[in-house]
């Protein structure tokens, strides 16, 4: 089998699919990497739910402004054309269907589009942030998975989520290190599969039935 996709490979693949001019919310962590792979000539407007459109890259260490952070509380910058606004307006953008694409991580995604990405249970205080708003409100919800399978060997793609849900029937597409998978009324539909990976091998690492799209594309890890 060829190398699985790196986080950067996945981010690059996701970025290719974001339409020019789209308003995009990137979840904390891996989804943030999408911003580093915007194809030349294309312009996305990044939304940060703490109250910013036009989020730019991290500032130089000597240009950090504590008043300008992202949803992960990290210092960021603003690009030309950006704007600041308060929380109710920021979530009006999300909940009112104005965000074209929300790209998030997940613990589990089910074949019916359910997603679980905010709680593993346990004694720690729960914390949800804007995840439930994003999956309920964005026009398209895409999940990025650095690995198709969790550390304990269980697939993150499941028939039904066992973890506490973030939202119901809301995920449109999954980008993992092994495949790109659409979710439609019939469940998982593979549109891209890692070059060299057999369909059965992918199915074995997936917790629900897979269908393969005609002309299913091959994904290749980039040499870097």
């Amino acid at each position: 089998m060829t190398a699985r996709l790196s986080a950067a490979d996945i981010a690059r693949r996701v970025a290719q699919d974001v339409p020019d001019g789209a308003y995009v919310n990137l979840g904390i962590g891996m989804p943030m990497k999408v911003a580093d792979h915007i194809p030349p000539g294309r312009e996305f407007v990044l939304h940060s739910e703490n109250g910013l459109l036009g989020m730019g890259p991290a500032p130089a260490p000597d240009a950090v402004d504590p008043d300008l952070t992202n949803a992960g509380k990290q210092p960021v910058t603003i690009v030309p054309g950006g704007a600041y606004f308060h929380q109710a307006d920021s979530f009006a953008m999300i909940r009112g269907g104005h965000i074209d694409v929300s790209i998030l991580g997940a613990y589990q995604v089910a074949a019916n589009g359910d997603i679980a990405n905010w709680s593993l249970g346990g004694s720690k205080p729960p914390a949800v942030g804007g995840a439930m708003d994003l999956v309920a409100g964005a026009r398209r919800v895409w999940v990025m998975l650095s690995s198709h399978v969790a550390k304990d060997g269980a697939s993150k793609l499941v028939e039904r989520c066992s973890l506490p849900l973030t939202g119901l029937a809301c995920v449109d597409r999954i980008y993992s290190d092994l495949a790109v998978i659409e979710i439609d009324a019939d469940g998982f539909l593979v549109t891209d599969i890692l070059d060299g990976l057999g369909e059965n091998e992918l199915a074995a690492q997936t917790g629900a039935p897979l269908r393969f799209a005609p002309g299913c594309r091959r994904l290749r890890a980039e040499l870097t």
Binding site: L53, G81, G82, A83, M93, R95, G96
Partner: protein
Amino acid sequence: MIDKRYTSAAAAVADCEDLRDGAVILIGGFGDAGVPERLIDAVRERGLSDLTIVSNNAGSGDYGLARLLASGCAARMVCSFPRSSGSVVFEELYEAGRIELEIVPQGTLAERIRAGGAGVPAFYTATGYGTPLAEGKETREFDGRHYVMERAIRADVALIHAATGDRFGNLTYAKTARNFNPIMAMAARTTLAEVRTTVDMVDPEVVVTPGIFVDRIVEVGA
């Protein structure tokens, strides 16, 4: 490159798919302040029919909104105060039974539009409880007070007027010409904004309508 600018109001409305017969159209302005006159004229020239127009007033004189209504394109008007001095066109249509009117308290109208933009399908308000304007509406008690349930307004198209705008669609307004324009921009599938002046970039701290709510802008001068 994102560039939402159009060269004329006619060009901005020409290929707008959401502008069609039967569409619901939000039109900004309060009295004569902040009314997107040029966009209204351009829509009138499209010769549409069966429109629902949502606007605080119903136009006056023989220009702008009144002229749009006079063209006979609107089947229905949602409005808080259609009886300003000079609202002759609307009054004649109304009295002739040629236009339907839904009268909505001004704050409820604003809140319903804002709800439409914010993904809230319905909310409760004390306004209008026990009055003819709440007849037939669901009511409910919270903490000993009575409220009316009101539904969000979402539209196909919003026509708005602003003072300045940039290529991203960020807008500012002039004084009380702001009125309904920012909330209407949020509540339509396609928002068209006429601006007095286009600028390179609106200062992000003073943007009133962020570009995410605006699809097309056209500079119309003062």
